[in-house]
């Protein structure tokens, strides 16, 4: 059997979706997930209760949505509050199973280790994708209702701006999560993996600009937040007449996705070598 045939049969035999389904079912019941959903929904509640802010905004309701949702994506939905929760959710993925002694049971089942990890990652993507879609769609509906928009505004926002916004939130949160998954695969305790993940994520954001002599944290290019801004500005007009985040979106996308692949490869390597006693 050739290497390609072996690979194909390996993919067809995979029980990733089984594990992913189980992971999604389990996570939906946890307090961490409900808390994350609540935290992510807070901007919707705030805009629901706050008075209209649009005024004579450039670009009408879609333009206002781009600026408001863009600001919320970069400063809230992918910022520290969401990052902390995502780091701890992802840190629980492998190390948490071992703490609860359920990893042993999982490994006795006729499922490969790679399927377990990849299934859990897929499950994670599904429920983060669900949260992202829910909050961005609700946010747009609240905004349209509050500012008195019509069906044209709704279709324009839905077709042009929702998917790019979801994509940026997803890639931002998944980058933080893949780092945390890698640590979770290599550490015994989920708390240690979560704290190390936080230290790396926030340490880079805070000490990176100092080490590289940047003028301020917000203008430092080599941070996740800045590169997400570069990506988002490709789809959204964040400020009229100027670019807030100068950079190459193709480079930002390549770096973020390749970083994710490398983190997950290391996670797989550490998980294969993990001995469960």
């Amino acid at each position: 059997m050739s290497l390609i045939e072996k690979g194909l049969s390996r993919i067809l035999d995979a029980k990733i979706f089984l594990v992913a389904g189980e992971e999604v079912r389990n996570v939906f019941k946890t307090m961490k997930f409900k808390f994350l959903l609540f935290v992510m929904s807070l901007p919707i509640l705030i805009h629901l209760l706050a008075p209209s802010e649009m005024g004579d905004s450039v670009g009408g309701i879609p333009g206002f949505f781009q600026r408001l949702a863009g600001d919320t994506i970069l400063n809230y939905w992918t910022a520290w509050a969401a990052q902390i929760l995502v780091v701890f959710l992802a840190a629980d993925m492998i190390a948490g199973e071992e703490e609860k002694d359920t990893l042993k049971i999982l490994l006795t089942k006729p499922v490969r280790k790679s399927d377990i990890l990849l299934g859990k990652i897929l499950g994670f993507l599904i429920y983060i994708g669900f949260i992202t879609t829910f909050v961005l769609t609700s946010f747009s509906l609240v905004l349209i209702w509050q500012e008195g928009g019509d069906y044209d505004d709704y279709w324009e926002i839905s077709l042009k701006y929702l998917v790019p916004g979801e994509f940026v939130v997803l890639i931002g949160l998944f980058t933080v999560a893949s780092l945390s998954i890698m640590l979770s695969a290599g550490m015994k305790r989920s708390l240690y993996a979560g704290l190390t993940g936080l230290l790396l994520v926030f340490g880079h954001s805070i000490f990176g600009p100092i080490l590289f002599g940047a003028e301020s944290i917000t203008t430092f290019e080599f941070t996740l937040a800045y590169q997400l801004g570069v990506l988002l500005e490709q789809f959204y007009v964040l400020a009229p007449n100027k670019n807030l985040y100068e950079g190459d979106p193709l480079t930002a996308f390549t770096i973020l996705t390749s970083l994710n692949f490398i983190f997950l490869s290391i996670a797989l390597f550490l998980f294969y070598r993990r001995e469960v006693t």
């Binding site: 007449n241 193709l250 480079t251 390549t254 770096i255 996705t257 290391i266």
Partner: protein, 305 residues
């Protein structure tokens, strides 16, 4: 083994960071002597006279002191210029002999992309409102030095008004695959703004507004300094993508925000790599990391113990 893996990861992150900061060949800057812009005469030189109201059959004259052999962009424009207006431009030398004339049709913007004086001295720029036109135009003239790579220092704010422009014109088509990098440094007691105005003859709607910012502006890009700050911005002049914003000319103006002092403007160009080069480099990085991941996912379990 874990230490080795983290080292590899660290090197990968560093390489990626270098990739983000991918530097291209920077063209050297030419030195230009410091020019203080602290009196009325030099303010209007390389600048914009206050706009005047013109109606059909009226004309107005702006004298300018120009330097021999220096290429200037001469642009006629104004606020609320519509298709009703028919504005023509004529240039006279100091003997009042007409040396250049542009008769544009109704509503078209008038410009002389490159005017090179033959002597040091005064030239008279006459704006004629053609009798074929209609309405009242608020129009003015802009004389800008055509810029290539430059570094220039000048004084802003001495006149106590907000219209302290320094204007430069850049022909985008002369830099078809380049990125223009602009940086502005200001002294501790000065804050200023860079503004980029696009205009073109192709689209009649694009016009510059040679007045102060209080009248509103049609600039497409602006970035402001704080006191004593250096800011930089870059604009791609890549005509391969038919950029709809900066498609023929860019006016770079420095605009006083508050204070008074010396500002230094640097303009340089970097080559933009070909599209296929960018896609190839990024594609290789992406595919390489994807292959590593797939190999680990599909075959890793069998070989890693």
């Amino acid at each position: 083994m874990r230490l080795l893996l983290f080292n590899i990861l660290f090197i990968f992150i560093i390489l990626n960071s270098v990739c983000i900061n991918d530097s291209h060949s920077t063209v050297g800057l030419s030195d230009v002597e410091i020019q203080k812009n602290n009196n009325g005469d030099t303010f209007f030189f390389e600048g914009i006279p206050y706009p005047l109201l013109l109606s059909p059959s009226n004309s107005t004259t702006f004298p300018f002191n120009l330097k021999k052999g220096v290429p200037y962009a001469v642009l006629l424009g104004g606020e609320y210029i519509s298709n009703l207006h028919d504005l023509d431009l004529r240039i006279f030398d100091e003997n009042l002999t007409q040396i250049e004339s542009v008769d544009s049709s109704k509503g078209k913007m008038t410009q002389i992309p490159s005017f090179v004086p033959e002597y040091n001295g005064t030239y008279y720029f006459v704006i004629d409102f053609n009798p074929n036109g209609d309405g009242i135009a608020i129009c003015s003239l802009l004389i800008a030095t055509l810029l290539e790579n430059t570094s220039k220092s000048f004084y802003l704010g001495a006149n106590g008004n907000s219209s302290s422009y320094f204007c430069y014109a850049i022909n985008v088509k002369s830099h078809p695959k380049e990125k223009m990098k602009i940086s502005l440094s200001v002294e501790q007691n000065l804050a200023a703004e860079i503004r980029l105005y696009p205009f073109t003859l192709v689209n009649d709607q694009k016009k510059f507004i040679p007045t102060d910012s209080n009248r509103g502006g049609s600039f497409q890009y602006s970035k402001a300094t704080k006191k004593g700050e250096t800011l930089s911005c870059s604009i791609e002049l890549d005509q391969r993508n038919n950029d709809p914003v900066f498609d023929e000319w860019i006016l770079v103006t420095t605009h006083l925000l508050y204070g008074e002092g010396e500002a230094t403007l640097n303009i340089s160009y970097e080559e933009i790599p070909e599209d296929w080069e960018r896609w190839a480099i990024h594609g290789v990085v992406f595919i390489l990391s994807l292959v590593i991941f797939l190999v680990f996912a599909i075959f890793g379990e069998k070989y890693i113990r």
